[in-house]
């Protein structure tokens, strides 16, 4: 900017350069502020791969699209009626060479992207277990009107609107809905999946970075829908057991009665924890026979190897 105070002749120029600088600076700021969030700020391997895929595919297509956009404006302007320098070719309606090129460009692009799609779809299939030396944590997810229930079958605890996970550990989800459809999504962890009544879906995710992340439902489910948000807390790996130990036995029990209470339509529900969970609750919800679950005593014994089936 030092030359901006030069002679009269250059007063316009630096002003313009300054404006451009401010604009690009502003745009960059907006972009960086805009880019470092949500799915563009991945905290786990799935989300990171998906972000990379998004950037690569966009770049491949932009390589074709930007020249096309420039050509559109350039052709239209150059061949405007008033331009005597442009050659008018009123009968030029076919060219084999041009046809080959215009079919080839999109065809080759799509072949490339199609290949990427095939590979990525298989690599990032939601039901595929993540490769890791650490055994996965099992979590069962139930969408209710209008909140999320997370059951830890191996820990014997459950939470509402708060998902606690160990960082660096694969999490193996089974998901269903006790009401209408919803979709489970933690943008920074990647891949969303539907929760559907009387059906289970599977999802494998992992958070490598410790922190608190936003989660939500992305499939409209009725009047309380916007309040169906939850927090994901990624703890250091060794602290999960401690958290579960502390939670166990506290609070109310999640048995048939507790579940009936929880099922009542509510929205914007504050996070809470159940220290006791009736074994088999998730499958009972899927099969619509929660009523038949036995009532639990106020404090259940630790039940690490419960009979809950988490198998396929």
């Amino acid at each position: 900017m030092s030359d901006s105070r030069g002679g009269n002749g250059s007063t316009v120029r630096p002003g313009r350069a300054g404006l451009i600088r401010v604009l690009t600076g502003g745009a960059l700021l907006a972009l960086t502020a805009g880019c470092n969030r949500g799915i563009l700020d991945p905290v786990g391997p799935i989300a990171a791969q998906e972000k990379q895929l998004l950037i690569n595919s966009t770049a491949i297509m932009l390589a074709i699209i930007i020249p096309t956009m420039i050509a559109t404006v350039a052709f239209a302007w150059w061949f405007r009626r008033g331009n005597s320098k442009a050659t008018y070719r009123p009968d030029w309606e076919y060219s084999g060479a041009v046809e080959i090129v215009v079919w080839s460009i999109p065809a080759l692009t799509i072949m490339l992207l199609g290949g990427i799609t095939w590979i990525a779809s298989h690599n990032l299939e939601p039901s595929k277990p993540l490769k890791s030396s650490v055994p996965p944590l099992k979590v069962e997810v139930v969408s209710l009107d209008w909140k999320w229930l997370f059951i830890y079958p191996d820990q014997g605890v459950a939470t509402v609107n708060q998902l606690v996970v160990p960082a660096g550990t694969p999490i193996s989800f089974r998901l269903t809905s006790a009401t209408v459809w919803n979709s489970f999504f933690v943008p920074q962890m990647g891949t969303m999946i539907y929760t559907m009544p009387r059906m289970t879906t599977r999802l494998n995710l992992q958070a490598d970075r410790q922190g608190v992340y936003d989660g939500l439902s992305t499939h409209f489910s009725g009047d309380g829908f916007p309040g169906m948000q939850f927090k994901v807390q990624a703890l250091p790996a060794d602290q999960l057991a401690m958290w579960a130990q502390d939670s166990r036995g506290t609070g109310t029990a999640l048995d048939a009665q507790g579940y009936a209470e929880l099922s009542k339509p509510t929205s914007y529900v504050k996070p809470m924890t159940y220290g006791t969970v009736a074994p088999g609750l998730f499958d009972a919800i899927v099969n619509d026979r929660v009523q038949q679950l036995q009532r639990l005593p106020a404090v259940a014994p630790p039940n690490q190897n419960s009979a809950v089936s988490t198998g396929g």
Binding site: C35, G38, R81, E93, T117, D288
Partner: protein
């Protein structure tokens, strides 16, 4: 006696729908009274309401679409306002039960009662003229189709005043739309309105497929048809195959709701995934029903205003038909997140991308149509170029959504909302506005005001980008659609920009009305006396503006791809028109009130079903059927236009045409 209908159905305690309904009622009454005072009812009844003339029916479709656009836009601006206001502690001005009706109505109205009638309106007006024939294959059925669409629109708008509309989104996914979760009449309004208008749409498809396949001017082989007719054929073939699926799946949901069936319920062995599949088997082809005729309009605009034939005509035909077929093989990409497995997702993802190939080819062919041309920068060309710039970006985001693992993070987000508005506004709406400007002089004999038209274009172009580009950003941040309340205050700036964009689009709609009124007022300055205001290339420009009821005194002989252009060039070269033919009297179908009567009873029946008033439903059904039988036993089928009238009109046309040719040959 009145089923579920009580005084509670009127929203006395909700000021927004109540005042809106009263204003609309007052407006309708006012206009009706004004028309009556002016003594225009007989004209309206004879020339429009009961008309079997495809041009008049086309105009009625477009009027319906423009009216519904205002309604759909009112919903849109309320949604944008709510999302700008209801952030953090504030709940905005719309409670969930109202907001949810608004976004459901917005989608339903914009697709079924704006985009569809607009597109069908153009097909009605243009296709017979371009084919060089006098009407569609089944003129009365055409009138019935229109009135059934209007009946559906009426039912949907009635829900504003009596009862409520669906709160389940524009596709009414069960189990949310089942009786257990949506006990009110909202979903029934949705179902019945779409069923009634859906019948009209299927009839339209039958009509146009027959018209294009069986009634063309002598010499017009398939490979000589204007490209708009090809796209109309493709679009109607899709309609014919896809709309029955919609009818069936909505009928299944009606059986669930009315008779306790269990197709899609949570209990009794129902499976809501079936609905998701079936509705998208219709829903995805629906996109191509809209966008293919839009591509046709761009093709006509590109060729006419470049002063060149469409580049790669055969390629365009092939691309159109390829899209027509592939559009059926991609529906699963609307629910990659259902967990169907990698193979299935990948196959449908790649199939979806393959549609990008013929679409890309079309873009390049328009590009090379401009190349070597003499491009006149009229309003339709603004839309063409605006479309080409906008649509490629919309295509990019579409291909991103077709890659399953990317869809996994942007599905149902504001990114998706931005994408489909990108292709529907940038693709379809721009085309409809281009076509509106392009064919307006043919319909009414004078052109629209150019400067105001360009202002409208800029409003749409700038407004669209301001309204939807922020939604892409928010989509990346994890913002999902259909949120009545926003928790994160940092979204506010982007939502406010989007609101400003919507306001600018609204200004464009207002300016469209201003343009129309101003153009009517100053029509004498922009009369189209030649019938060929744009130096056109297809047969609609051969006849006068507005064309006589019978379109052509003698069906034109077609000798090449651009029938009218060829004829015009020959005439300019020889400095004379073709030899005057031997005129014959012309038989034209008579007017009939069948359509409006059938639709009246269909509306009654639909309304009665929604409110469980069974005697009225039966009465409506009988009435509609009786009107149809009464029509079937008619004595008078056609009226004859005497040869003297035909000859006099034709000679007048030849006179102005000769003058036009002289002016053309002098200018070149």
């Amino acid at each position: 006696m009145f089923g579920k209908l009580t005084w509670d159905a009127i929203p006395f305690n909700q000021p927004i729908p109540l005042i809106t309904s009263l204003v609309i009622l007052a407006a309708i009454l006012g206009i009706a009274l004004w028309v009556w005072r002016k003594g225009w009812w007989p004209y309206l009844w004879n020339e429009y309401i009961t008309s079997t003339d495809h041009k008049r029916i086309g105009v009625m479709y477009i009027v319906l679409a423009l009216l519904m656009l205002v309604r759909g836009f009112a919903d849109a601006i309320m949604m944008r306002a709510q999302q700008s206001l209801a952030i953090g502690a504030s709940q905005g001005f719309l409670p969930p039960e109202h907001y949810n009706q608004i976004f459901s109505a917005h989608g339903t109205i914009m697709i079924f009662f704006v985009a569809m009638p607009f597109v069908i309106g153009f097909m009605n007006f243009v296709v017979p003229l371009q084919l060089g024939v006098r009407d569609v294959a089944f003129p009365t059925m055409n009138n019935v189709s229109f009135w059934l669409s209007a009946s559906g629109a009426l039912l949907i708008n009635l829900s504003l005043f009596i009862g409520e509309f669906a709160r389940t989104g524009w596709l009414g996914f069960p189990p949310l739309s089942e009786k257990a979760f949506s006990p009110g009449v909202g979903v029934d309004y949705y179902l019945v309105a779409l069923q009634v208008s859906g019948v009209g749409t299927v009839l339209t498809a039958v009509n146009f497929v027959t018209t294009i396949l069986k009634t063309r001017a002598p010499g017009m082989s398939y490979m000589r048809m204007p490209i708009f007719c090809w796209t109309a054929l493709a679009s109607n073939l899709i309609m014919l195959a896809a709309f029955p699926v919609l009818t069936v799946v909505l009928a299944q949901l009606m059986l669930d709701r009315f008779l306790g069936f269990h197709f899609f319920t949570n209990d009794g062995g129902g499976n809501s995934m079936l609905y998701m599949n079936l509705i998208w088997v219709w829903g995805h082809p629906e996109v191509y029903i809209l966008v293919l005729p839009a591509f046709g309009i761009y093709s006509e605009v590109a060729a006419t205003f470049s002063g060149k034939p469409l580049f790669g005509y055969r390629s365009m035909v092939f691309a159109t038909m390829a899209i027509c077929i592939i559009s059926y093989c991609v529906w699963l990409h609307h629910f990659f997140t259902m967990g169907a497995g990698a193979n299935l997702n990948a196959v449908f993802g790649i199939a979806s991308m393959i549609i990008g190939i013929p679409t890309g080819v079309k873009i390049y062919n328009w590009l090379f149509t401009l190349y070597g041309g003499r491009v006149r920068f009229t309003v339709p060309v603004y839309y063409l170029i605006g479309f080409m710039l906008t649509f490629v970006v919309g295509g990019l985001t579409g291909v991103l959504l077709a890659i399953p693992p990317i869809d996994f993070v942007v599905h149902n987000s504001l990114f998706l909302v931005a994408h489909f508005h990108h292709v529907i506004i940038g693709g379809v709406v721009f085309a409809l506005m281009a076509g509106y400007t392009y064919w307006f002089p043919k319909a009414f004999g004078f052109t629209l005001h150019e400067g105001l038209g360009k202002a409208v274009f800029w409003c749409w172009f700038i407004g669209f980008h301001l309204a939807f580009m922020p939604l892409y950003v928010l989509g990346f941040w994890g913002a999902t659609r259909r949120m009545q309340h926003i928790s994160d205050p940092t979204w506010a700036p982007w939502l406010n920009i989007a609101f400003v964009g919507a306001v600018i689009i609204g200004l464009g709609i207002v300016l469209t009305v201003v343009q129309l009124l101003y153009s009517i007022k100053t029509r004498d300055q922009r009369r189209d006396v030649t019938g060929d205001p744009w130096d056109g290339r297809t047969l609609e420009w051969l006849t006068l503006s507005p064309p006589p009821h019978y379109n052509f005194a003698v069906l034109p002989d077609v000798h090449g791809e651009e029938a009218y252009w060829l004829r015009k060039q020959t005439a300019i070269k020889q400095d004379q028109l073709i030899e005057e033919p031997d005129y014959q009297p012309i038989e034209m179908p008579v007017n009939t009130p069948t359509g409006v009567i059938v639709a009246f009873f269909a509306s009654l029946c639909g309304f009665a079903i929604i409110w469980y008033i069974w005697w009225l439903a039966i009465l409506g059904l009988i009435g509609a059927f009786a009107a149809f039988v009464w029509y079937a036993w008619r004595d008078e089928h056609e009226h004859i236009i005497p040869v003297e009238e035909v000859r006099a009109n034709a000679r007048e046309r030849r006179r102005v045409r000769m003058e036009h040719l002289h002016s053309l040959s002098q200018s070149t």
